[in-house]
Symmetry: C2
Subunit: 165 residues, 2 copies
DNA sequence: TTAGCGATGTAATGTTGTAACGTTCATCGA
DNA sequence: TCGATGAACGTTACAACATTACATCGCTAA
């Protein structure tokens, strides 16, 4: 298990797309469904880590998560274990890594395969995300035109959010 | 000194744009000119760090650079010092930070203000770059439409380059 | 039963980034 | 000449992020 989705899935799956955003219990449920669907187990540890991750408004570092999960379980959970599960989440599309922040964010639409554009505020740290398939497909196309294959776009925009501006 | 260029500079400076790529001595010369133009000094240390940075085909970590510059000077240069100067380079557009690699790359067209799309090969690590102003301006526009200001796009594509594919 | 396997625990270590403060050197006005 | 100022760089220490290797536990197929 834990295979990367085939690139073509992006092409075909993109045309008619809802981009339905989950939140709260609905999100956890969708995440569990997506993980099980990928042939992976929804364990207590994974459930806790996802729950903690989903409470964050800002991208959370693995260490942030480790601290909170440790509290929640009343027993130290090492960053190591958190990284393992975050990697799984990223691979199965339950979470995204925000490269410009060395941190992770829950995917508000697990099971929905597409490239997201993340907006991260330099002041307050909050992250929101835009779905613009035309734009992200153009980026993919440009990279592929340059001879790249198996592309994975990283599109993030740093700046000041409306509240902090 | 060391001011961020005003966002509007991107708009106005973009229409008629050459995207001339420098290399080797020409690049170092262009970098020096750009730095001096920004009101900063072109010191021996900065010259050495830029020279080392420019030899890399792949994004170079500050520590990589520190090692090579230490060799070149026959005296230990702490990563700290390298970071200081890399930050200056990034601010003045002599270098770019590749967020998805925690590393830096010399800007092949210093003095030329625009967003670059970096392509980084997951296998060999080499980085190339595409200039597609229509695309990058669309990303800026999307972020601004979402209420973001002073935006700084981070557009990178991970994948397999033509050689490694 | 027990061999295998997936998930998690533990410990150690490696890599990347920052903070605080000291030294050197050029410039400049008194 | 002298002391003040400020930029560049040095030194040390530490914080934050990430990986590696190996151990343990519990489940289940042979
Ligand atoms: Zn969607
Ligand atoms: Zn904000
Ligand atoms: Zn250009
Ligand atoms: Zn390659």
């Amino acid at each position: 298990m834990i295979d990367q989705p085939h690139p073509s899935a992006y092409i075909t799956g993109m045309a008619a797309h809802h981009h339905h955003e989950h939140a709260g219990a609905s999100l956890a449920q969708a995440a569990e469904a997506a993980l099980v669907d990928a042939g992976e187990q929804w364990t207590d540890m994974r459930s806790d880590i996802f729950a903690v991750l989903a409470t964050f408004e800002k991208p959370a570092s693995a260490y942030d998560i480790a601290d909170l999960v440790s509290q929640r379980r009343g027993k130290r959970v090492a960053p190591n274990s958190v990284y393992r599960i975050l990697d799984l989440f990223v691979t199965t599309n339950l979470a995204r890594r925000v490269e410009s922040a060395n941190a992770y964010i829950a995917n508000s639409h697990p099971g929905c395969l597409h490239d997201c554009i993340f907006l991260i505020c330099d002041s307050c740290g909050t992250a929101t995300h835009i779905d613009d398939d035309a734009l992200t497909m153009s980026v993919r196309a440009a990279a592929e035109h340059a001879g790249f294959a198996q592309v994975r776009p990283v599109i993030e925009v740093r700046g000041k959010c409306a509240d902090c501006d």
